[in-house]
């Protein structure tokens, strides 16, 4: 998936200015930036909740449009929002297949198949739960995040957008989610992780994209980046730094 020169303004406020990014299969991109940098706006444009004022999108080499959530879903873009959008009073299996429940005779829910399929999916993702029949309200924060990720994958998502997936989690649960994210990479998914947490971001990502005041301020391989550099880019102390992937698409001064 390639985004080229995407811009979005809300009245006089420029939320995104000429942002270009490549999202590749089997790669995890960490999307960082201060509050108001444009991270959420970019995610909402990719998920079809906002319409970009300018710019274009390419998916597997062909131009595409994303005007509404259904367009994004059709392209295999699945978003896991910060609030996870789970139904706490329903089981893990039902949450994973919510809205796409296996049916019998058109109107009846095939609960056995749903639970069997959910079990297979959770095993593939190496997610351990007491039972897929457990109501989500009884799960820990990390387990809920895992269920939300499972649902995104069950929806057939090839591009996963994760908004602050570890924001409300403890150390162990955060590790669990990081493990899941690296698992997504192995499954050849393109993953974008929005986060404020810099502690492990270099370990779980392949590339880092830093937004500042709506512009792509830095875009570099994680292996060639340090935490101090990221802080410098986020705060604007360090100069813009765009390499590998977005160079040719971003505005000339950033090169």
């Amino acid at each position: 998936m390639r985004l080229s020169n995407v811009s979005k303004a809300f009245g006089q406020v420029k939320a995104l200015v000429d942002v270009s990014l490549d999202l590749r299969a089997g790669e995890v991109v960490g999307l960082l930036g201060d509050n108001g940098a444009g991270k959420s706006t970019l995610i909402k444009i990719l998920s079809g909740n906002y319409h970009a004022d300018e710019g274009s999108f390419e998916y597997q080499g062909r131009p595409v449009t994303i005007n509404r959530p259904a367009d994004a879903q059709a392209l295999g873009i699945a978003t896991v929002y910060q609030d996870l959008a789970l139904v706490e009073t329903r089981s893990v299996a039902h949450n994973i297949y919510l809205g796409r429940e296996p049916r019998r005779f058109g109107y009846f829910m095939d609960r056995r198949k749903m639970e069997r399929d959910a079990n297979v999916m959770l095993e593939e993702l190496n997610i351990r739960l007491a039972s897929q029949k457990t109501d989500v309200e009884l799960l820990s924060g990390g387990q809920r995040q895992a269920v939300a990720l499972s649902r995104a994958i069950a929806m057939g998502g090839n591009i996963l957008l994760l908004d602050e997936p570890t924001a409300a989690l403890g150390v162990e649960q955060t590790q669990q989610v990081h493990h899941l994210i690296t698992g997504m990479r192995r499954q050849d998914k393109a993953v974008v992780v929005i986060t404020h947490d810099l502690s492990d971001i270099l370990d779980i990502t392949d590339r880092i994209a830093v937004l500042r005041q709506g512009k792509l301020w830095a875009y570099a391989p994680s292996s060639e980046t340090t935490t101090n550099q990221i802080i410098g880019w986020i705060t604007g102390v360090a100069p813009p730094h765009v390499r590998n992937g977005a160079v040719e698409m971003n505005n000339g001064s950033d090169q």
Binding site: A85, V87, E88, T89, L98, G99, E101, Y107, M109
Partner: protein
């Protein structure tokens, strides 16, 4: 029954069942007339008409809604059917039109709540007054006496020793349980009550399903109105006036959360039985009518407190 036990908060159901048994033991000990087949049939008959409305309300509340106008809808349906009977309209058509009239009133509730986004409590409080007023205005406050007619068997007949109203009520309970447990739509209603935004995100038609619950609720209230009219041979514009609170109390007592997404029809059935047994027992013990009101109020308070505990307390 077993699947319903799995779905519901088991402890709520077990607690309700034990409470019911204790009440039966208490009233049996206090009154020699309580533990008789005749009296249990009386209790069944007393709860079956309100029970039909409670079944509809349960489904509405599971989907996160509320309907206060249901008893007024039943009264209007009773007036419509009685008017049609006096006009000697075909008896099948009478039943269909009576329930359809109730369905139209339910559609209006759905329109206010789903389309105009009015809070269900406010919307149905308004329609409660509006529909009850319509029932009185239609005859200038007079009752419509219909006497014995083609529908009398529905309210007065019996089968295998039990009133047809009781059999009909039990049939609706079983059908409702199957619908909520086994169908995709029933499971979606639970999910909508749990988190409607999450359901919208995955493409479930939240507004359409919620709207249908109000229509179905009104149709059941219409059937209750038809049963009540055929039972008494008279349509009263004041029929079931004030029954709303007893019905809501029974539903809440049965484990349905005001916030939606929890509970089931088995719980509502137990809630109805508890309230029915208490009311019957107090009458047999010749407790002063004012004390009966105190007890009904206490049951409503207990039901709401239990709901609060379920949402934020130890039940989680």
């Amino acid at each position: 029954m077993i699947s319903a036990l799995k779905r519901q908060d088991n402890w709520t159901l077990i607690g309700l069942f034990i409470t019911l048994l204790m009440l039966i033991a208490l009233f049996s000990w206090q009154s020699e007339f309580f533990f008789t087949t005749r009296n249990f049939i009386n209790i069944g008959q007393a709860i079956s008409i309100r029970g039909l409305i409670a079944i509809g309300l349960t489904v509405v509340m599971i989907a996160g809604g509320l309907d206060l106008s249901m008893a007024a809808v039943a009264a209007v349906a009773g007036m419509v059917t009685a008017s049609l009977i006096t006009l000697e309209v075909n008896s099948v058509l009478v039943g269909v039109l009576g329930i359809a009239a109730a369905g139209v009133l339910g559609s209006f509730n759905a329109l206010l709540i789903v389309k105009f986004r009015i809070n269900p409590i406010i919307a149905t409080l308004g329609t409660l007054l509006f529909y009850r007023g319509l029932a009185f205005v239609s005859t200038g406050g007079d009752n419509i006496v219909i006497g014995v007619n083609a529908w009398s068997e529905l309210g007065r007949g019996s089968w295998l020793g039990a009133p047809i109203t009781v059999w009909l009520f039990l049939a609706v309970v079983v059908l409702g349980m199957c619908f909520m447990r086994f169908t995709v739509a029933g499971n979606h209603l639970y999910a909508i009550g749990g988190n409607s935004e999450a359901c919208r995100n995955v493409g479930i038609r939240v507004d359409r399903l919620r709207g249908w619950t109000y229509v179905a609720q009104a149709c059941l209230a219409g059937l209750a109105g038809l049963m009540l009219t055929s039972q008494s041979g008279t349509a009263l514009p004041s029929a079931l006036n004030g029954a709303e609170l007893d019905i809501i109390a029974a539903v809440l007592l049965g484990g349905i959360a005001l916030s939606g997404g929890r509970g089931g029809l088995l719980g509502t059935l137990l809630g109805l039985l508890i309230i029915g047994v208490v009311q019957n027992g107090l009458i047999l013990l010749q407790v002063q009518i004012y004390w009966q009101s105190v007890v009904r109020g206490a049951i409503l308070i207990i039901a709401v407190t239990l709901d609060s505990l379920r949402r934020g307390g130890g039940y989680r």
